[in-house]
């Protein structure tokens, strides 16, 4: 067939079938984009696990370097520092009031922590 004018060539070009992609291409695109599996842990959870692991390593190093007495001394110092303000009833009352207010405010902002957590669990199950 001759393509003497532009229109004939255009018609032939537009009628040209597209290349057939490999059979599994679409599936592999979708599994890396829209339908990629949800990550096992969120960034917050990974940060939390990392912090816990760092504390454990630190404590193990403390035991290895200074023996049991230094370890016990350090732990009791930490516990007493943390527990001192918590033993005060007024401090606890203020903490409770703050938490309740924060929770109440989530009803207006739409970022309900419990609802979001249950949604994420549902997503993972799917």
């Amino acid at each position: 067939m001759m393509y003497r004018d532009d229109d004939a060539l255009d018609r032939a070009l537009f009628a040209l079938p597209l290349e057939e992609p490999p059979a599994d291409l679409r599936a592999s695109i979708l599994t890396t984009t829209a339908y990629r599996p949800a990550p096992m842990f969120s960034v917050t959870e990974i940060t939390l696990f990392g912090a816990m692991a760092a504390i454990i390593v630190w404590l193990v190093a403390l035991i290895a370097m200074g023996g049991g007495s230094l370890f016990v001394h350090t732990i009791s110092a930490i516990v007493s520092t943390v527990a001192r303000p918590l033993s005060n009833v007024t401090t606890l009352a203020w903490l409770g009031a703050g938490a309740a207010t924060a929770f109440w405010l989530t009803f207006f902002t739409g970022s309900q922590p419990f609802t979001l957590a249950s949604q994420r669990v549902g997503q993972r199950a799917r």
Partner: protein, 184 residues
């Protein structure tokens, strides 16, 4: 539920809002065309596959940068075309492979054309074009007469696109008429 006939822009908006099915519809609409562009540019099944996957991955990750009112097809073709250019440059740099600015190795279009059907003859002739003309013709095939969009994908002025297209068609006609002569 995603409407399969929804406009591309709406699907992008839905995908940004977290609807995975919306992006899946866009993939269904354009994966074949993007693969076609990559394959026609690179002439390698594996590389064309990688480029297609890479293009959709990049698009998915930067959906928020998609300008409202722009055409998704132009955007995804531009991403794929740039990925193809990167690969062609890498080939040139590391493998001292010749840029496909010429006909492919193997029997020329004249020899092959005799046994091939019309579409295959046209494909063979397109393959024999220099790379810049081949890409313009491929995009013309995919986008139709949307010169402005072809220019956007290639990052070239519209005048250059029109010139390339004119020369590409001229060369195509010459190649195809050459095959015709061989057939007779």
């Amino acid at each position: 539920m995603t409407q399969p006939e929804a406009a591309d822009g709406d699907l992008v908006a839905m995908a940004i809002r977290g609807n995975p099915d919306a992006f899946a519809v866009l993939v269904e609409r354009y994966d074949r065309a993007v693969y076609h562009l990559a394959f026609r540019t690179l002439h390698d099944v594996e590389e064309a596959r990688d480029v297609t996957q890479e293009a959709f991955f990049k698009a998915f990750r930067s959906l928020r940068t998609f300008k409202p009112g722009a055409k998704f097809s132009t955007w995804i073709f531009a991403i794929a075309y740039h990925a193809c250019c990167d690969r062609l440059n890498r080939r040139k740099r590391y493998a001292s492979e010749e840029m496909p600015d010429r006909a492919d190795a193997g029997p020329g279009p004249e020899q092959q054309a005799i046994a091939l059907d019309e579409a295959q003859r046209l494909r063979t002739a397109i393959d024999a074009l220099p790379e810049k003309y081949r890409t313009v013709i491929t995009l013309y095939h995919l986008q139709g007469r949307q010169y402005e969009e072809i220019a956007q994908v290639l990052g070239l002025p519209m005048g250059t696109v029109k010139t390339h297209l004119f020369r590409a068609k001229e060369q195509l006609r010459r190649l195809l008429s050459g095959a015709e002569v061989t057939e007779q």
